[in-house]
Amino acid sequence: MKEKSIKFGKNLVTTEEFLAAGHSFCTGCGEVLAVRLACKALGRNVIIANATGCIEVCTSPLPVTSWRVPWIHTLFENVAATASGIEAGLKILTKKGRVPERDIKCVAIAGDGGTSDIGIQALSGAFERNHDFLYLCFDNEAYMNTGIQRSSATPYGASTTTAPAGKLSIGQTTWKKNLPEIAVAHNIPYIATACPSYPFDLMNKVKKGGDVKGPAYVHIFSPCPTGWRHASDLAIEIGRLAVETGIFPLYEVENGRYKLNIDRPKLRPMKSMPNSRPRPPVLQLDFF
């Protein structure tokens, strides 16, 4: 992976939209912005497999679809396995001369629950079998589509509908599962974290992950106004604060080598984070 694959910047992004307007995401959603940017980075020659979740539900209510690229949804827990079949199927059909030789990128997309909880077995299997595919995890830190239930990606101290803060509880009492590190443990060639508040960084990483031969994993921090109870004009700001405070560092792991992409000499203090991510006011951030 050379610098050549880094190509996005001002005026260098296609004006073409692969995710059509008119979807039903919430106002100010950070996730759909990230999906839109990822699609621009990937271009037309992709097949997208989507796990059940906000993205699937908000883009595909029959009889309409937002997708201008081939797209498939089967279930919640199996997107990495479905993507495995797409990748292996295309490869053998090309080898047998039944599909013309062409570079079609197979991309799996899912939320944090679909990745770190119910889908982790299928994901681990697909990594281990070395399928040539890109997995994008859009992490809004809880099961937002079903109504803000806790997942293993929910941060410590957050209040969700199934781990609510109360007289006897601070809310989530477990620490966020570190999915990028689990991906690193599979020795796959490319892992990155990204956030739509840094659009060119996100697009470069998605492009790189798509270009790499073998499995690639990009974990995308996706602010959720509905679940985090923040104002709908704050997604970009909160994403930036998460990175600048070190809550969600942006980094890449290429063939085992780590690189911090946004490296501030001094992290911003946690108390600069607004009272967001499903977290009770009582906790504030000085709790940390």
């Binding site: 037309r44 020659n45 992709v46 097949i47 497999a49 699937e56 539900v57 595909s60 209510p61 029959l62 009889p63 679809t65 997708w67 201008r68 690229v69 081939p70 797209w71 498939i72 949804h73 089967t74 279930l75 827990e77 199996n78 990495a80 396995a81 479905t82 993507a83 495995s84 079949g85 797409i86 990748e87 292996a88 199927g89 295309l90 490869k91 053998i92 059909l93 080898k95 047998k96 039944r98 599909v99 079609i104 077995q121 299928a122 681990s124 299997g125 281990e128 079998r129």
Partner: protein
């Protein structure tokens, strides 16, 4: 020239998948299915089969991988058994609802607990409402033949449905029998290349597997149901076509013995062959008996079944599965339901046996026929009786 070789049903099914030139195999090992993926993996490793063999992490991933492969237009095969079939249960509905014609061998196995690796039909019956075509085999030859037919039927542009080919764990999977293998040219004549009309392709972007609000969902499901029902015509037509090429003719419902027999026994799978010996013995004793081998389980061949049994006096239905708390075994329930509105119909008697690999002998089937006739004559409060099971068993209507 076709050749006659000794093969266990597992290897016969693998051979059929090879001759069908499958593109993708995704499978997870489970007894007693293992010989099927093992043989296919060997074929791929030796270059006898040009396919992607994907050793997935579970049965759930096996079927999910098959969905992805079928959605790009690959001919896709997998195999499983008992608990493995249950583990992929959720995905089975998606395969049929998305009209992805995956072919799967099910080496029928009992379900836990207690754990049993041996055969019965609990797994097949648990899948009866998943929208798959389900075909049962009696022997290794049929394991080969039905696997080829499964590809032909499932991939028919008017069908596009996944197909399960059932054969009994151990009783067939691990038993070597003579099998006639055809020439590749004959197989190619029967089975054209797979062309999936809705393949995922960047040049023709389509959204597959979208979600349906209540104003669309019911129509989608009824359309699926109609497609499965209509597939029976194609199945019958392709069985005929298969017979014309290979010389072996099959039917959804097969009668052994006299059409006018006063007592008919109905069985499925490998036990049908054992039951045939019991029928022969009884016929030699001058009794008016015959056997119905129910080959096609889904779509349920109501019309054909009624034609075959309408003039008999007693129909003894043998189930290898308990429908817990239900009105008898699953096969007998459906047979009784088929007959309920008919004016002229036989008395139906139900036996449950052969669970978790418990064998059924020729004598057991003779007993089933005798006892069945007795029950039909005297009447009984029991919905079913068991055979070969120790202890007191009641299946009362109460």
């Amino acid at each position: 020239m076709s050749k006659r070789v000794g093969l266990e049903a597992s290897h016969a099914a693998a051979e059929a998948a090879r001759m069908a030139d499958v593109d993708v195999i995704a499978a997870y090992p489970i007894t007693p299915q293992t010989h099927i993926p093992e043989r296919l993996a060997e074929m791929v490793a030796d270059g006898e089969l040009n396919a992607a063999y994907i050793p997935v992490d579970s049965e759930h991933s096996a079927m999910s991988t098959c969905l992805g492969a079928a959605a790009v237009g690959a001919r896709t095969f997998t195999a499983t058994a008992g608990p493995g079939l249950e583990y992929m249960h959720n995905v089975l509905y998606v395969a049929s609802s998305m009209r992805l014609p995956v072919v799967m061998t099910v080496a029928n196995r009992a379900l836990s607990a207690p754990l049993s690796i041996w055969g019965d039909h609990s797994d097949a019956m648990g899948s009866r409402d998943t929208g798959w075509i389900q075909i049962f085999c009696q022997n290794s030859q049929e394991a080969f033949d039905m696997t080829l037919c499964a590809f032909r039927v499932g991939e028919d542009p008017g069908v596009l449905l996944p197909v399960m080919v059932h054969f009994d764990g151990f009783h067939l999977t691990h038993v070597t029998e003579p099998v006639i293998l055809p020439e590749q040219e004959e197989v190619d004549r029967f089975l054209p290349k797979f062309h999936y009309p809705f393949a995922l392709d960047p040049d023709k972007p389509m959204s597959l597997g979208a979600f349906a609000p209540p104003d669309i969902y019911p129509e989608a499901k009824i359309a699926q149901e109609m497609a499965l029902r209509k597939s029976k015509t194609v199945i019958i037509q392709e069985f005929q076509q298969f017979g014309d090429i290979f010389g072996r003719y099959y039917q959804p419902v097969e009668l052994y013995g006299m059409q006018s027999a006063k007592t008919l026994l109905l069985t499925m799978g490998s036990f049908s062959e054992t039951a045939k010996i019991a029928i022969d013995t009884k016929k030699n004793n001058g009794e008016s008996v015959g056997l119905i081998n129910l080959r096609l389980w889904r779509p349920f061949p109501s019309k054909e079944l009624f034609q075959a049994i309408k003039s008999t006096e007693v129909l003894v239905v043998f189930d290898r599965c308990i429908s817990f708390g239900g009105p008898g075994g699953p096969v007998s329930s459906e047979v009784r339901s088929t007959l309920y509105n008919e004016k002229e119909k036989p008395k139906v008697v139900n036996f449950i046996g052969g669970l978790g690999g418990r064998d059924m002998s020729v004598e057991d089937f003779e007993y089933v026929i005798d006892r069945g006739r007795e029950i039909a004559e005297k009447g009984s409060d029991e919905l079913f009786e068991t055979v070969g099971i120790r202890g007191e068993v009641t299946g009362t209507r109460g």
